[in-house]
């Protein structure tokens, strides 16, 4: 066999392997949605769930499935996809797993904007996500600007981002503390993220964001892969580095901000999805689509665990936060060992 034949066979094998893994992840997502719809405080048989989904009226189930579980599942799915996709895009583009939007302040920026708009300005509806996107982009520019010193170094950007993030967290806490009807539920949502009390109409802007920004990001997946070889190499391969970077930033910030405006900054989902996806997929090929699916798995499973499998009911962000924190510590320890170049 010639080298070309070997290459071809190897590529076909890897392609099949990749498609199988993606199929498996998609199947897990579907299973989790099915479990969320069927199994809560009570069990609803699949036939009843299907009837509710197709618009039929089933006494009892119409409320639990249609009003409680369905919005929760839809929101969890879309938020998970958004955080997974947006987070992985940032990590790949900046070539650093710590450069995730929830570490460098973009999620807390969007969250602070959303809580300010809702609590202080009394806004509601699609204007809140739009405001969150503006704030997310603003924070992205601020972090980039503050860490610019004749070029942006990854380690400096991450440190600046962590600082900005801490500042924004305190803004959120301040606004919530002064809120006239501030409840623990609200605080949890804007600090760690939650899909409690989800309404189907809230999911609509997120659906639009996933379709628009998600398509935009996936269409750049190959250019992003080339960027992993360094800006110079990517440019030599015909990638417009500056333009690609702007498109990726806008799309990823858009996804993260809208998801945050709806579900809060669900802790560490953006941060964890990419690394988990690349661990599962191996290093070859784009990690974006698998990361989106992993994001959905994390949010759906985390929410289910938080609701039904723990002694008390916790919002999803508490569960994903407990997962993400050890990994963050591991990365920081490792980055320290090799001098900041993670």
């Amino acid at each position: 066999m010639t080298t070309a034949h070997l290459m071809q066979r190897d590529r076909q094998l890897r392609g099949r392997h990749r498609r199988r893994l993606i199929g498996l992840l998609a199947a897990i997502v579907v299973t989790l949605i099915a479990v969320t719809l069927m199994l809560g405080q009570s069990f609803t048989p699949p036939a009843d769930v299907l009837r509710v989904l197709t618009g039929g009226d089933v006494p009892g189930a119409a409320f639990t499935v249609g009003q409680l579980r369905l919005p929760r599942a839809v929101l969890g799915l879309l938020a998970g996809i958004s955080f997974g996709l947006g987070g992985a895009a940032f990590q790949v583009m900046l070539r650093n797993p710590l450069a995730s939007p929830d570490i460098i302040g973009i999620s807390s920026g969007a969250s602070a904007a959303a809580v300010f708009a809702i609590v202080v300005l009394g806004w509601d509806g699609p204007v809140v996500p739009v405001f969150a996107i503006a704030a997310g982009l603003g924070i992205a520019m601020l972090v980039y600007g503050l860490s610019f010193k004749g070029g942006v170094a990854g380690a400096r950007l991450i440190l600046v981002g962590i600082g900005v993030s801490a500042m924004l967290e305190s803004v959120i806490a301040y606004v919530l503390a002064r809120a006239p009807s501030g409840t623990l539920q609200d605080a949890m949502r804007w600090l760690t993220g939650s899909v409690n009390g989800a309404r189907l109409q809230d999911a609509l802007p997120l659906l639009v964001a996933v379709i628009v920004f998600g398509t935009l990001l996936l269409s750049r997946a190959r250019d992003l892969e080339a960027l992993r070889l360094g800006d110079d190499t990517a440019s030599a391969l015909g990638v417009r580095v500056g333009r690609t970077r702007i498109v990726v930033i806008v799309a990823a910030v858009g996804l993260i901000s809208v998801a945050t405006a709806v579900a809060g900054p669900i802790a560490f989902v953006a941060f964890l999805s990419g690394p988990i996806a690349s661990r599962i997929m191996g290093r070859d090929g784009s990690v974006l689509l698998p990361a989106a699916l992993i994001g959905a798995v994390l949010v759906l499973a985390g929410d289910y665990v938080g609701q039904f499998l723990l002694p008390a009911r916790y919002p999803v962000g508490v569960v994903t936060g407990a997962l993400g924190a050890p990994y963050l510590i591991y990365l920081i320890v490792r980055a320290n060992r090799n001098g900041g170049a993670s």
Binding site: A4, M7, R95, L229, G230, D232, G238, D284
Partner: protein, 269 residues
């Protein structure tokens, strides 16, 4: 094959307010190997960066077949003009085969599928650089010399008629330096690829290049066949270094022996 021409016309470029190249004019001879030599900070890397669109010129143009490369679609340019930058990044754990495959990027549109021609280009690049046996290995496990051959394989898979390299032999031991330069010569002879590279080692540049471009202070100090360019006067002017030029017994090309302040035999000079 019609050889592509690459030329620089009245090129002025630099970083921020600092002008490094000032009104430079150059023609790169097609189908030949050209080496740019010069002292540190003489503008040789800036020239290469401007010629591969990594840097926008402040004035003047870089012309590929008479057309400004800064006005060409990026992908189209990347199918004709390849570049191996000084410090490319290999993503953690990436395999040799995958890295070399990335060289096919400019040949693919948004929805183009990988074809047999792509497999063949990658295989040819692996074979030419003797890296086919490493195909399944992770790039970060390889030795420096192997790694550089893999990067060159990636640039070969791009199948460009012109290949520019920024110090391709830096950090390699002498055997690997020779290996890389032999490889580029094979490529030039077999495919007629135009090679333009920045080299630090004057003697290797003189031996392997058909033409030398000696730069000093952002200008071309001398340009031509090594036999004409590499002289004691040029070394003095460009590097401020005293030297002897002797004949390289292998190639018959000139060879430079530096003269420092110490370690001189009695009666030397």
């Amino acid at each position: 094959m019609i050889p592509h021409t690459l030329a620089v016309s009245d090129l002025t470029a630099g970083y921020g307010d600092t002008t490094i190249l000032n009104g430079l004019n150059l023609d790169i001879p097609p189908g030949k190997i050209t080496a740019i030599v010069g002292a540190n900070a003489c503008g040789k890397s800036t020239l290469l960066r401007t010629m591969t669109r990594l840097l926008r010129p402040a004035a003047g143009q870089v012309l590929l077949d008479g057309q400004s490369i800064h006005r060409m679609p990026a992908r189209m340019l990347a199918r004709t003009l390849g570049l191996l930058p000084q410090s490319p990044i290999a993503p953690e754990g990436i395999t040799v085969a995958d890295l070399v495959s990335r060289g096919r990027h400019p040949h693919h549109g948004l929805f183009a599928r990988w074809t047999k021609a792509d497999d063949e280009a990658v295989a040819e690049a692996l074979n030419a650089t003797r890296t086919a046996t490493l195909a399944d290995r992770a790039v970060d496990e390889l030795s420096g010399g192997q790694r550089q051959r893999v990067w060159i394989a990636m640039a070969l898979a791009q199948q460009t008629d012109l290949l520019l390299l920024d110090e391709p032999t830096t950090f390699l031991d002498i055997a690997n330096q020779i290996e890389v330069l032999d490889l580029l010569t094979d490529l030039n002879r077999a495919r007629g690829t135009t090679v333009l590279m920045v080299l630090h080692d004057l003697n290797l540049a003189a031996r392997y290049a058909d033409r030398l471009i000696a730069m000093a202070g952002g200008r071309v100090h001398a340009m031509g066949p090594p036999g004409e360019v590499l002289t004691e006067d040029m070394v003095q002017a460009v590097f401020a270094l005293r030297s002897h030029i002797i004949r390289d017994p292998t190639s018959g090309k000139p060879m430079m022996l530096p003269v420092g302040r110490h370690r001189m035999e009695d009666g030397a000079l």
